[in-house]
Each structure stands twice: as C-alpha cells, then as structure tokens.
Amino acid sequence: MLLAAPSLADPAADPVASGLAGNDANDAAAVAMIELKRASKQESAGVGQKRRVFHDLTLTLYQGERLGLFAVNGEDATTLLGCLSGVDPLDSGSLVQHGSVSWPVGTNLTFSGKLSGAANARFAAEIYSQPGCLDGDLRLIQELTGIGDAAFHEPISTWSGPMKDALKLAVSLAFEFDVLAVGRISGWDFRAIHPHSVRIRELFERRIEGRTLVMAASGQNKLALEYCDEGVALVDGSLLYRGDPEVCLELVKEEAQRLKYERRQRVNARVKRLLGQDAVDPDDDDSDDELLGEAEAEPVTRLQ
C-alpha cells in the first residue's frame, strides 16, 4: 500500500479511506482499481487454431470489492484473471490498474528450477518487500512453506510438486498488495484445522482485509463462495451476469450442462447417421461419449 499509493491516478481519492469504508461497490466514493475496457483475448487451441476466451469485455473492479470469476471452461477464468492482473497480455483493448496488483496468487512463472527455494524467494522479496523487511519476509516465507533449512537451499527442480506449490503460495502471500488476484491455489485447504493451514488462512485473511480481491473460481468454487461477495459469470466470451456468486456458479454449471448435452446430441446424431438408425444401443455410448469428439468420430467413417 505504501509503495503503490502515489501511483493512483486520482489524487482526490484516498485509497485508505475508501478501503476502510467496507466492501460497498455502489459507494459513491468507490475508486476503480482495475479497469478493463473492450478487451479481447484469444488462446491457441492446437496448431494454427485459436479459441476465443473473451471478446469485447468491459469490467471494472472497485476498491474493496471481492469478485469471483466464474467461467464454463476453467482455463478461461484463469486467463481472465491473468489479464486483469497484467500477467497475460491482451490481444486488444486496454487495461488500467491503480495501485499495486499481485500476480495470480498460487502461481509463479518467475521461479527458476536451477535456483534454490531461498534464492527464488529472495528475488521476489528484493522486488516486493518493504524497505528493511527483507529478512523478516524471507523467514515468513520459509515458515509458511514448512520446509527445513537443508531442503530450502536445494534447487527447486529437485523438489516435489507439493513443496513447489507451498513455496508459490508462500511467496504470493508474503507481500502486501492493494489488489490480491488469486489464481488456482493447490496444497491449501481453507477449511482444514491443521495448524499450518490455519496459519495460511489467517495470513490470507489479513492480506485481503480492507483490500480488493479478485479470484478465479475454477476448481475452487468453495473457496470463492467463502471469500467473494460478488461474482461474474463468463459465458461464451462475454459477461452474462454480475452479482451473487452463487447465482454465477449456478449459471456456469447450467451452461456447462447445456454444452455437454449439446455435444452429446451432436455425437449421437453423427454416430446414428454413420451407422444407421437402430444400430447403436443408447445405453452403450453413455460411458465414452464425452471423450468421443470430432477426432474420435473419424475412424468410424473409415470402418464403413
């Protein structure tokens, strides 16, 4: 907060004051923290193929809001979060951030497998920690990961997956940001009563207290419902709804069901067309129809 406050575009809006005012998004004094305008993003889907993640999307995140991103495809929510936090570049449109925005918590692309956990953590701390807090932050990171001294100084390419996840989470939570962007967190169950999980939970709650939160809900719906006051449902590349997170979750689930049903219908129709009306037992294709996409359908043609 200290370092980021002077970069606010509007000097009249005091981030501390409005942060203390609570989570009211409709507050007249609400300050926009992230503004995404007419943004579009495509992702590669195979060789030479592109898939639309979102198109012409306008989204504003205000000070003190806790927003969950719900999407039919889990990757879409993560990509949108990456774009909001500025880690992923947009194809078109503009992104304006006021104050400091974290990278997606729980992920880290900067870690180098050749360097030790201590060196990787130190690099992050040198960039993000407050002046004079560097050693304390490093101790905090090591404590949060729960990794012993000897292993902490080994290159992280030799570490196990859960250890790496713990380090990613610990490094993300060690610093203070105005906006906390939460990506897919693995290795932490927020409901667990293990002292270590409780410690992380306490720190997480302290980091979002009075600040802004944006979270990708894919794969962690429970976490998102617990901490988000508001949600957006991203369906077919545009915002379908913004409001109650439970409604968002239902909408997204319904849309996923609908897509699944459509896909099943399409595949069934195709198989029926190829094999004749009554050749296929409807119970038979139940097990593998989800896997049976375009590519799987091709060999059937050749069989005939």
Binding site: A5, P6, Q42, L109, K114, F123, I127, Y128
Partner: protein, 279 residues
C-alpha cells in the same frame, strides 16, 4: 498519505537500485548453477585473445605495443573493455526474450532486467581488468595507472555506450528485425578490427585515421591507455567525441524505449498462427 516528495523520490531510487541488483544477483546465481564454466566461460574469449597476442609478441617481437606500458596491460586495456562493450550490447539486444519470465513480477520492467544484466557484465569485466592491473603492478612492482579516476570513468562510459547501443538496437530490432541481426554481426566483427585493440592509433598513417576514428570505442580505448600513461601518444583522439556518443546513444535508447515499452512485453513476437474464428 502525504509524504515528502524528496523522501519519496529517494525511496523510489533505492527501490530501483535494489531491483537492479536483485536481477544482477539472480543472473549471477543462474550462471553459477551452470557449473564452473558458467562463471569462468565469460572470461575465456578475451583471455584467449590476450594470450594469443602475447604469444605473438613474445614469438615474433612484432605484434602489439610495449614501449609505453607493460604489454599485457596494454593488450588487456584493449580487449577487456571491448568484450565488455560487446557483451553488454548483445545482452541488451537479446535480454528481453531471455528474461521474459521475470516480467511475471509486474514491478519489474524490461529496462530493469536489462540494466541488471549490464551491471553484472560490467562488474565481471571490471573485476577482470582490476585483477590484471593488480597482477601487472605486482609483477613490475610499481604503480601502473597514473589517473585512476579517468580510467574508471572511461570504463563505465564504455559499458554505458554498449548499453545505449544495445537498447537502441533492441527497440529498432523489434520494428525492423534486420537491424538487430546486422548490429550483432557488426559488434563482433567490424568493431573488433577498428577499435585500436591490437594496434595503437599512432601507427595508422594520417590519411587512414578517419577509417578508425569514426568508432567511439577506439577513442575510449586510447583514452584509457592515455590515463594509464599520460605520455602515451594518441593523435586525433577526442574525449568529447567519445562522451557525446555515450550520452547520445543512451539518450536515444532511453527515448525510444520510453515510447515503445509495451512492445517488449509481447513475448510471442509477430503473429504467425492463422486465426480461425468460428463465427
């Protein structure tokens, strides 16, 4: 959160320095993780060339120039700054793509990583130069360098010149890829022959001196030698020309960097894949 503007500027400056040194330290650790060659490999090329010319001098008694100062010092003052210049420039040209994962931390801008790499390269070659100077001092048992201040400033100037040239090339290379290719080739080949590295400027005949003296690096290196021994003759060499190049290249590089920073964040380069829209 009213704060004193001077204090704020100072804290930002300290943060900037901390970030740059963090990048340099990380680069050093990455090189050290490669094993012994990762650290020593940088020294290899200048040391091999210095050794070759030393051998030529010893065997043929013709190459190089030993009458104003120790031959080894004379050669290293040519080769080490030259390789420092080339290394800094090439690191700056290719540094952004190599360090693209660093920009995951949004507080770190491309310029920071370039400056960190340049700092590390300057430190390494500066150390090499210092070690050689000390070794020669001990060998001859008398002080070698007459004007330390000028030596240090010109070495830093050469590093800054390399950074400026590299930064300008990086940005221009994003617009015109051929520029980056050409400058990389130019740095390694043409400059090696026109920078007064293994010949002094005074043995070049008058009418051919302009062929050498367009090169700011030749000026820098001859000024370095003059700072070691003020009696060293360097006709036609101008400090103003050298420093004008340093400031000009850095200023131009920073100017076009400021206008084109966003270009550097896109790691994918030019769009190659065909976009198929389902609609």
């Amino acid at each position: 959160m009213a704060r004193h503007p001077l204090r704020y500027a100072l804290s930002q400056l300290l943060l900037q320095l901390r970030i740059i040194s963090a990048v340099a330290r990380r680069e050093m650790e990455l090189r050290a993780a490669k094993g012994l060659f990762g650290v020593v490999g940088v020294f290899l090329e200048p040391l091999v060339l210095i050794g070759t010319f030393l051998a030529l001098r010893i065997l043929l008694r013709g190459a190089g120039e030993g009458s104003y100062m120790n031959l080894l010092l004379w050669l290293s003052v040519g080769f080490v700054p030259f390789f420092m210049f080339a290394e800094v420039a090439i690191k700056a040209i290719s540094g952004v793509e190599k360090n693209s994962t660093l920009y995951f931390y949004r507080r770190l801008r491309p310029l920071d990583s370039l400056m960190g790499n340049a700092l590390l390269t300057t430190q390494i070659f500066g150390l090499l130069l210092l070690v050689i100077t000390m070794a020669v001092t001990i060998w001859e048992w008398r002080p070698q360098v007459a004007a330390f201040g000028i030596t240090i400033f010109v070495v830093i100037g050469i590093a800054v010149l390399g950074f400026g040239v590299g930064l300008s090339t990086l940005i221009l290379g994003h617009r015109l890829p051929v520029v980056a290719w050409f400058v990389k080739m130019f740095l390694r080949r043409i400059l090696l022959w026109t920078s007064c590295i293994f010949f002094p400027i005074r043995i070049v005949p008058d009418q051919f001196r302009p062929w050498i003296l367009w090169n700011p690096l030749a000026h820098g290196i001859e000024i370095l030698r003059q700072s070691i021994n003020p009696a060293y003759p360097a006709p036609g060499v101008s400090g103003i020309y050298f420093w004008a190049w340093v400031i000009g290249s850095l200023g131009f590089g920073l100017f076009i960097y400021g206008n084109n920073e966003e270009l550097l964040y896109s790691t994918e380069g030019l769009p190659a894949a065909t976009i198929t829209d389902e609609d």
